[in-house]
C-alpha cells in the first residue's frame, strides 16, 4: 500500500464544484499553500471552506476567495490586515460567513472525525453566537449544544509522511491539521518529506495513516507569511 500521488494536480483533480473543504493552518502556519494553489489551478468553484481564518494577502485561501471560488467560509477569525480580500467580498455580499468560536470550531471538527454528532460546551453561552442553538443544563450550569463538522475533503500540511500516510507536523504548524485529517471523507496531505515506512517512530506519529487518503511530497513548502511580505500574488 502506497498512498503517494505523483503531483499536486492529481491530488486535487477529483474535487467537484460545491465541495466542502477543510484547509489546515492557523494564519500561515501549517497552511498547505501548494495544495490550495493547485485547487485554484484546478478550477473548482462554489466551495465551502473551513479554516480558522479567511486568508491573508493574495495567496492561499485569500487567492482562492479572490478567484471567486468560495461560496462560504466557516471560521473563527476572518479579519485580516490589508489587503482585505475576504472583508471586501463579505461587505459586498459575495461570500457567506459562519462565525464559530475557535475552540468550538476545533471541537466540532474533532467530533466530526470521532463520530460524535453533538456535544455541549460552555463557550458562547449567553452570546449572539448561541442564538438558535439548544441549551442544556448540567450540574447547575448552562451549556450550548454544538454539532459535528465534517467535510468532503481536507487539505493539510505535514512535515513527514510515510507511504501508509502516517504524519508528523513541524512545530506550531500542527494546529488544525490533525483534527481536520480525521473529519473529511478524503484527506490529502502535502508533506515536506516522504520517508520510508518505518522511518517515523511509532510513538512520534501524530496522525495515523488511517485518517489519510493521499500524500504528495512538496519539498521546501512556501510560508504564507513570507509570500505576503514579498507581496506575492497567485496565480
Amino acid at each position: 500500500m502506497d498512498k503517494t500521488l505523483p503531483s499536486l494536480a492529481e491530488a486535487v483533480a477529483g474535487i467537484p464544484d460545491g465541495a466542502t473543504i477543510m484547509i489546515g493552518g492557523f494564519g500561515g502556519s501549517g497552511a498547505p499553500i501548494e495544495l490550495i494553489h493547485a485547487l485554484i489551478d484546478q478550477g473548482a468553484k462554489d466551495l465551502t471552506v473551513i479554516n480558522n481564518n479567511a486568508g491573508n494577502g493574495h495567496v492561499g485561501i485569500a487567492a482562492l476567495i479572490e478567484q471567486k471560488r468560495v461560496r462560504k467560509m466557516i471560521c473563527s477569525f476572518p479579519r485580516s490586515a490589508d489587503p482585505r480580500v475576504f472583508t471586501e467580498a463579505y461587505l459586498a455580499g459575495e461570500i457567506e460567513l459562519e462565525i464559530v468560536p475557535q475552540g468550538t470550531l476545533a471541537e466540532r471538527i474533532r467530533a466530526g472525525g470521532a463520530g460524535i454528532p453533538a456535544f455541549y460546551t460552555p463557550t458562547s453561552y449567553g452570546t449572539d453566537v448561541a442564538n438558535g442553538k439548544a441549551i442544556g443544563t448540567f450540574e447547575g450550569r448552562e451549556y450550548v449544544q454544538e454539532r459535528w463538522l465534517k467535510a468532503d475533503y481536507a487539505l493539510i500540511k505535514a512535515e513527514e509522511a510515510d507511504p501508509h500516510g502516517n504524519l508528523t507536523y513541524r512545530m506550531a504548524a500542527r494546529n488544525f491539521n490533525p483534527v481536520m485529517a480525521t473529519a473529511a471523507t478524503v484527506t490529502i496531505a502535502q508533506a515536506s518529506k516522504i520517508v520510508e515506512l518505518g522511518a517515523i517512530d511509532p510513538e512520534h506519529v501524530i496522525t495515523p495513516g488511517i485518517f489519510v487518503n493521499h500524500i504528495i511530497e512538496v519539498p521546501n513548502p512556501a510560508q504564507e507569511e513570507v509570500l505576503n511580505r514579498e507581496g506575492a500574488v497567485y496565480p
Binding site: 460524535i116 506519529v205 495513516g209
Partner: protein, 229 residues
C-alpha cells in the same frame, strides 16, 4: 439427523473465509479470541492494516514465546509486535477511529444475531460479571460489521434468530455472518443465504436457523481449504 460435527467448518476455515473478503488496504479490527484468527489468512498480495482498541495501528505478528514486551499488547492482552508503519495513540484517539467510521471492517464473535442485524455478544443475561469492552463501539463505528460464529450453540440451538433474547450489543449493525455452515448476509431485515457448505441441504440449514433464510440469486458452494479442517 445430520452429524454437524463431521461436516461443519473448523474455526480456522470460518476465519479463512472471512479473510477472503478483506480488500487490499482495508483497515480492520478483529475481536478478541476467535476473530483474531482471521489475520492469519489474509490472501497474498492484499495488505490489511489491523487496529486494536488499546491504541495500536498496523501491528505485526505475535512475538516468540519469551520475547514478549508487555507494553506492546492487543485488546485481548496478547503480546504483539511493531513493524514498519506501526503507530501508537491513546484510547480516546483509538475510539475516534472506531466511532468515526474510519475502520473498513470489524469482525466480532456472537452469542446471537437477529435477522434485522441486531447482535448480542457481551452478556448471556444470566448473571455473573458483565463485561462489554469495546464491542458496543465497534458495531456502530466500522463501515462493515461481520460476525464469525458456529451456526448453532453447543446445545444445538440456533444462534441466528428472529429476535435476540440475550442483551444486545448493538441494533441493526451486522451485515455479514460467517458461520460453520454458511455465509449469510443481513439485507433489509432478512437473512439472505449467499453460500453454504455442500454437505448440508437448504432445508437442513433452514432447520438450524431461527428465522427464514432467503435467497437472492444462486447459493454458492462454500469451499474452504481442507488443510484447515
Amino acid at each position: 439427523m445430520i452429524d454437524l460435527d463431521t461436516i461443519k467448518l473448523s474455526n480456522a476455515q470460518i476465519a479463512w473465509r472471512a479473510a477472503q473478503d478483506i480488500e487490499d488496504g482495508a483497515y480492520v479490527n478483529l475481536g478478541i479470541g476467535f476473530p483474531e484468527m482471521v489475520a492469519r489468512f489474509q490472501p497474498e498480495g492484499r495488505e490489511a492494516i489491523f487496529h486494536t482498541e488499546n491504541g495500536v495501528l498496523d501491528f505485526g505478528k505475535a512475538p516468540e514465546k519469551g520475547d514478549e514486551d508487555w507494553d506492546c499488547i492487543n485488546a485481548g492482552k496478547k503480546a504483539i509486535t511493531i513493524k514498519p508503519g506501526t503507530a501508537f495513540f491513546h484510547h480516546a484517539d483509538s475510539f475516534a477511529m472506531v466511532r468515526g467510521g474510519h475502520l473498513d471492517v470489524a469482525i466480532l464473535g456472537a452469542y446471537q444475531i437477529a435477522q434485522n442485524g441486531d447482535l448480542a455478544n457481551w452478556s448471556t443475561g444470566k448473571g455473573g460479571v458483565p463485561a462489554v469492552g469495546g464491542a458496543m463501539d465497534l458495531v456502530h463505528g466500522a463501515k462493515r460489521v461481520a460476525v464469525l460464529t458456529d451456526h448453532v450453540t453447543k446445545k444445538g440451538d440456533p444462534k441466528l434468530v428472529a429476535a435476540c433474547t440475550m442483551p444486545l450489543t448493538g441494533v441493526g449493525c451486522v451485515t455479514r455472518i460467517y458461520t460453520s455452515l454458511a455465509l449469510i448476509d443481513v439485507v433489509d431485515g432478512h437473512f439472505v443465504l449467499r453460500e453454504k457448505i455442500p454437505a448440508i441441504s437448504f432445508d437442513d440449514l433452514q432447520a438450524l436457523t431461527g428465522a427464514p433464510l432467503h435467497t437472492d440469486g444462486e447459493v454458492i458452494d462454500l469451499i474452504c481449504p481442507e488443510e484447515l479442517a
